[in-house]
């Protein structure tokens, strides 16, 4: 290595603290705008991919964005519901495969997604263990949900009450975990999948009665008088559907009127898709038809605009950082005048001393660049997962 480069390197190594601060500053200056762009573009690509794979979405009239966020990403909003008879209407058209969704409830922080078995093949979800749900009251957990709740096949999860003070007396539903899915890196990992009718049970549209007249329930009985049984607080605080009591579960009212969040439509070909869109374009009959990819692209345009402003702001910050770094260098050179004089007296030329300073700058910049690149690579690989683990959905 040329002497100047070596001396430059040794100077930086000796002044570790100063060098580290300089490198860190420049690294951040390089990393932040790049990371912003990578994060936004990767997020957009991932979101768009999922939206692209969802051809059409039906829901209640209202915000298309909220409908898409809730149905594709299980966003914790509560869009208006449609009734189940709409699903029957759609199926009668025979223009697509129709997959209902009801995403109103949660099990702790994990969204409960009421749907049908077709959803699993539609999203390419595969089992890591156990089986798919076989009956009401069973559930299948995404890999992330299972890890978060610390359950495996055969364990149980409980639906969360909507409010703390649920005076309606709709108890949480204890659901058996029939299976756990393989991780997909998608929103499905965080979900608890159930039969859509199970969500109606959770909502209280269907239930079973704990028979307090049976001997086994004696502990829950406060008193009996003239055929009236008064229960105490020890009566089971959750409902659970089992093979033994399934016969006691029943729905009240017509299932046609039961709620759904949305219906995913998967037409087999373009012609069917066109016919379907033509039939529901005017959004009559209380149904809204959206193309998730279009809705998302509109939103992402806004995101990219915001991103540009963020990057602009970061660039200005970067310029200020560069100014400070230049100042630091200049001050540093001032302090080193004696050293440069010594070098000059021994025989170093001005070019040599210039090269010495330049080598320090080069090392700092190259080091920062390498570090920034490494961070971007790591971020591209893991950032979304790390953020997901910290920012629970």
């Amino acid at each position: 290595m040329s002497g100047a480069w070596y001396l430059g390197w040794r100077y930086l190594a000796f002044h570790k603290f100063k060098s580290a601060i300089l490198i860190a500053s420049i690294t951040l200056m390089l990393f932040l705008p790049a990371a912003t762009r990578v994060l936004v573009s990767d997020s957009a690509a991932a979101l768009t991919a999922r939206a692209d794979r969802t051809p059409l979405l039906f829901g209640a009239a209202g915000s298309p964005l909220e409908l898409v966020l809730n149905s594709l990403y299980f966003h914790a909003g509560k869009p208006s519901a449609i009734t189940a008879d709409k699903l029957d209407q759609l199926q009668a058209t025979s223009l697509a495969k129709f997959i209902p969704l009801n995403t109103h409830f949660h099990s702790r922080d994990n969204p409960i997604v009421g749907t049908t078995l077709e959803y699993f093949s539609f999203r390419g979800l595969e089992l890591a263990g156990g089986r798919l749900m076989g009956m009401l009251g069973e559930c299948v957990l995404g890999a992330g949900a299972a890890a978060r709740q610390g359950v495996v096949s055969g364990d149980y999860v409980v639906s969360s009450p909507e409010t703390v003070f649920d005076i309606a007396g709709v108890y949480p539903l204890r659901m058996k975990v029939a299976g756990v899915l393989k991780p997909t890196g998608s929103t499905d990992d965080a979900a608890v999948f159930v039969d859509v009718r199970t969500t109606w049970v959770i909502q209280g549209l269907g239930h079973g009665h704990q028979d307090l007249a049976k001997p086994g329930a004696a502990a829950g009985v406060l008193g009996r008088k003239e055929g009236v049984i008064t229960a105490n607080a020890s009566v089971a605080q959750y409902a659970e559907i089992t093979v033994d009591n399934i016969a006691e579960f029943h729905f009240h009212g017509r299932s046609d009127n039961f709620p759904l969040t949305s219906v995913i439509a998967v037409p087999p070909d373009d012609k069917s898709a066109t016919l379907l869109r033509g039939r529901y374009q005017s959004n009559d009959e209380g149904l809204q038809l959206v193309v998730p990819a279009t809705v998302l692209n509109d939103l992402l345009d806004t995101v990219f605009t915001v991103q540009n402003y963020v990057i602009l702001g970061l660039a200005m910050l970067g310029m200020a950082t560069v100014a400070v770094i230049v100042l630091v260098f200049l001050l540093s050179q001032q302090l080193r005048r004696g050293e440069f004089h010594t070098l000059s007296r021994i025989g170093a030329s001005r070019i040599y001393i210039g090269l010495l300073i330049a080598s320090e700058l080069a090392f700092v910049f190259i080091g920062s660049l390498l570090l920034a690149l490494s961070l971007i690579i790591v971020m591209k690989q893991y950032a979304l997962q790390i953020l997901q683990s910290f920012l629970t959905l």
């Binding site: 997020s43 999922r50 990403y73 909003g77 049908t116 009956m135 009718r197 979304l384 997901q388 959905l393």
Partner: protein
Amino acid sequence: MSRLLSMLFSLFLAACGEMEDTQSGNTGTEDRVANRPLVVTSNYPLFFFASQIAGDAKQAPRIVLPSIGGDPASWVPTADQIGLLQSADLVLLNGAGYESWLDWITLDEGRLTNTTAGTTSQLIELKELPTHQHGPAGEHAHLGTAFTTWLDPRLAMEQAGAVAVALERLVPDQADSFRDKLSGLQSRLTELDRELADTFAALNGQPILFSHPVYQYLQRRYDLNGVSLHWEPDAEPGISAWIELQKILQQHPAAIMLWEEVPLASTSARLADMGVRSIVFRTASNRPGHGDYFDVMGGNADRL
């Protein structure tokens, strides 16, 4: 603006869960089609029809009737049986409310075929709601739609046709074979219809009794003058039941009562004392101990 920011943030969080989406697709069905698709039926008549139509060629679909104790109408599938239903490429349903377990079992709707879906106009609505008690089993009520559709050979033919269509969709390559076999089956059903018509014609409209309300389609097809009770073959009728029977006989002097199975000797003896002969007319809803659907129905005709 804050709402937009909230949505953007939510979108960002959602994207945190979206690294990549796999799109492996489900090739299970395609694999199974290549290796004899699995067809599960919900009762014996459908099993019989499907078996007849599918045939026993090497690549013919496998027709399975789960092991069900008692009347399949009361079937509560076990976890393994649910697994069998879920793994089937095709599930043939009787429809008309026969499969109450559909209300709580999770199945892929695309693989279900309701064999009476095309005959809903011919289904018999049950309008009365009598409550009654069967010994220790507790009260229950019949309502909705009568579901023993296969007791009417004409409806049975429709169901067989629906089975054939479903099998053709499942294995298009064997469509010709299915149609041929369907034709043969329908010929035999036509023959059975004629035989039963002749048999019931001999009754000449005389009043009969049905021990249980499961003969609605038989009654309608052959214009039988019948009244349904709610007696079980293996249960001793209570005093109120006998009193009710006497009242009915005053208005409806039947000399025959059809039973799904052989009734208790004491019951048939007492009925005989009252001038009512017990005749077994099996519904063939479950797999017979011996013979097939036509043997069972033929035996019914013979006993009449």
